[in-house]
């Protein structure tokens, strides 16, 4: 194919221009987050200074954030909660997915309907009864409250995704293992699970980002500084009364996004596979 001048112009209009607009729209808020966090307060709250670049970069907001607030504690809480609830969801999700993908049993249709229904239940529907339940269990202001409730949001997705991966394992492999005397559990653990590593990574990454993103339950269940997660901590404690500490807020937003962004950058392909699995395979 020869790319003449006209072809180049068409390509500019149908590819590069729309891509540039989309990239600008998608990434500008992150640029803004970053440069705001590096500006001095005089610069931030002046209408005369050109705001699109940093004139006197400073790390003051980061220092303040890390020394004067409980940001590190919130980060630790967020990671801990996300990791444990992801692990629980992967295990329970796999326990649902394997029989549904491979075995025949009475009530299978009911179980898969229940998973689909759970998938579609948004948090705002359940926060009132859950708040009451957590309260009665005495789990208010404990990380257990969110570690218990987050898997309800993650399990359906993990189960759905893993079902697809379990189905790709050739039945012949499982039959061979069974003929050689392996029990069903051994077949699952020694034959099927090792072949589904990518599925677990995809489901795990997706669940991890979802758990990091959760806000409503954390906002309701966690009201003390020492148990808060980053989103709730930022909203509840970096805004004091009507005063927004914009520099610190932006620093917190940026630092809070970094764990997810790093993990995401390592596993983009797995993440995209997980993201599109629901739509394309389902």
């Amino acid at each position: 194919m020869t790319v003449d001048r006209r072809g180049w112009r068409v390509r500019l209009l149908t590819l590069w221009l729309p891509l540039a607009v989309a990239m600008f729209f998608a990434l500008f808020p992150f640029y803004w987050m970053a440069i705001t966090s590096l500006k001095t307060n005089q610069e931030l709250y002046s209408r005369k200074v050109m705001p699109l670049i940093v004139h006197n970069p400073t790390l003051k907001h980061y220092v303040d954030l890390l020394t004067e607030t409980s940001f590190l504690e919130w980060t630790w809480n967020t990671l801990l909660v996300a990791l444990i609830s992801t692990a629980i969801s992967l295990v329970l999700g796999a326990m649902l997915a394997y029989p549904l993908a491979r075995l025949r049993f009475a009530g299978a249709a009911m179980v898969s309907f229940a998973i689909a229904a759970t998938y579609l239940v948004p948090q705002p529907l359940l926060f009132v009864p859950l708040a009451d339940l957590i309260n009665r269990l005495g789990l208010n202001d404990t990380l257990t409250s969110v570690i218990l409730t987050y898997p309800t949001l993650l399990i359906p997705f993990c189960a759905w995704l893993l079902m697809g991966y379990f189905r790709t394992v050739p039945v012949e492999l499982e039959d061979a293992a069974r003929i050689d005397g392996a029990s069903r559990l051994q077949t699952l653990v020694k034959i099927v699970l090792p072949l589904c590593g990518p599925g677990f990574i995809s489901a795990g990454i997706f669940a991890f980002t979802l758990a990091q993103n959760e806000f409503l339950y954390a906002l309701i269940f966690l009201t003390k500084t020492e148990v808060r997660t980053v989103p709730v901590g930022a909203i509840a404690e970096l805004v004091r009364g009507d005063v927004f500490y914009w520099g610190q807020l932006m620093a917190a937003a940026l630092l809070g996004s970094i764990p997810v962004a790093i993990i995401y950058s390592f596993f983009v392909e797995h993440y995209v596979a997980g993201l599109t699995a629901g739509g394309v395979k389902g």
């Binding site: 149908t14 990239m23 029989p99 948004p122």
Partner: protein
């Protein structure tokens, strides 16, 4: 006697063996699914029905409830704020979903070409979707700040408006801003999922269509769109449900203001239940999301089935 019968019995029915019982397909399956099913029943199924029970009570926070039947729902029905909330939610969902659908499809088509750094572009475009919503929304709040909005700075610098509009203070603009931020966050999901769908369409279909005389539009209308429909449907269903029940974005940017102009079901239920401490009323408002959601899903399912049958 036993010596004669025993071998016959074992042949017909072997003595009960736990190991073999566990190996039965049905038994093994239920041993596996029992724990997760119990978990979901305890933390999703039970709270759902318990929520219905709470919604039938007058229940101030930390006090025993009193059964009042459908009073909470009737009160919501006559509450002008509730009606505004319903209108707001439907408008917000419809506008945001439509923009995400059209924009996402457009972006997917643009990205379904060969170009350099395609994977990097795709990874960067997905960032708004993976970064915790509350944190990116805080950045948007600063972008739309009444006094120091960068948008207004640009408008002023370009001599378009001085001072610029109050993006979150004006009722109509506040709704508009929320929709833009929602689209910003949700569009990558649409685009990347639809892109994955586009890549599954076999190229020979396009060749066949071209031979039959189809132009660019014809190929899109008669090849791309029909084959993409199932994916558009699923993505839209997710988008509609989660936009309809959106909480984070609105809570951070406007808390439902100004003057309830951006209150949606989730934020209003939160205000009533957690702010005013009326658990019963809050549960009733939250549950009011169920019928419209069910209707939307049903309507979409029927619409999707119609051309096929």
């Amino acid at each position: 006697m036993t010596a004669v019968l025993a071998p016959a019995l074992t042949r017909r029915r072997p003595p009960f063996s736990f190991g073999r019982w566990v190996e039965r397909e049905g038994v093994f399956s239920w041993l596996m699914v029992a724990l997760p099913v119990a978990f979901l029943v305890a933390l999703v199924g039970y709270p759902f029905f318990y929520g219905i029970w709470i919604s039938l009570q007058d229940r101030p926070v930390a006090k025993p409830g009193e059964f009042v039947g459908l009073d909470n729902f009737i009160r919501a029905w006559h509450d002008p704020v509730f009606r505004q909330v319903a209108v707001n939610t439907i408008f917000y969902t419809a506008a945001a979903t439509l923009l995400k659908m059209v924009g996402g499809l457009g972006l997917a088509l643009v990205m379904n070409q060969d170009f350099r750094f395609k994977n990097l572009t795709r990874a960067l475009l997905l960032l708004p979707f993976i970064v915790p919503t509350v944190l990116s929304t805080i950045a948007w709040q600063w972008i739309l700040d009444p006094a120091f909005s960068v948008v207004n700075w640009v408008l002023k610098a370009a001599d378009i408006a001085d001072p610029g509009p109050s993006w979150l203070g004006n009722p109509h603009l506040a709704m508009f801003s929320l929709i833009i931020v929602n689209v910003w966050r949700g569009l990558p999901f649409y685009a990347i999922t639809l892109l994955a769908g586009l890549q599954t369409i076999p190229p020979d279909l396009y060749e066949a269509a071209t031979i039959d005389g189809a132009g660019r539009w014809g190929r899109f209308r008669y090849v791309t769109l029909p084959l993409l429909m199932p994916i558009i449907f699923i993505v839209t269903m997710f988008s509609v449900i989660f936009t309809f029940a959106d909480f984070q974005l609105i809570y951070v940017l406007t808390r439902g203001g100004p003057a309830n102009a951006t209150h949606v079901f989730a934020t209003y239920a939160f205000d009533i239940a957690m702010g005013a401490g009326q658990f019963g009323q809050g549960a009733a408002i939250a549950l009011s999301m169920v019928p419209p959601l069910a209707l939307i899903i049903l309507a979409m399912a029927i619409y999707m089935r119609a051309p096929k049958s």
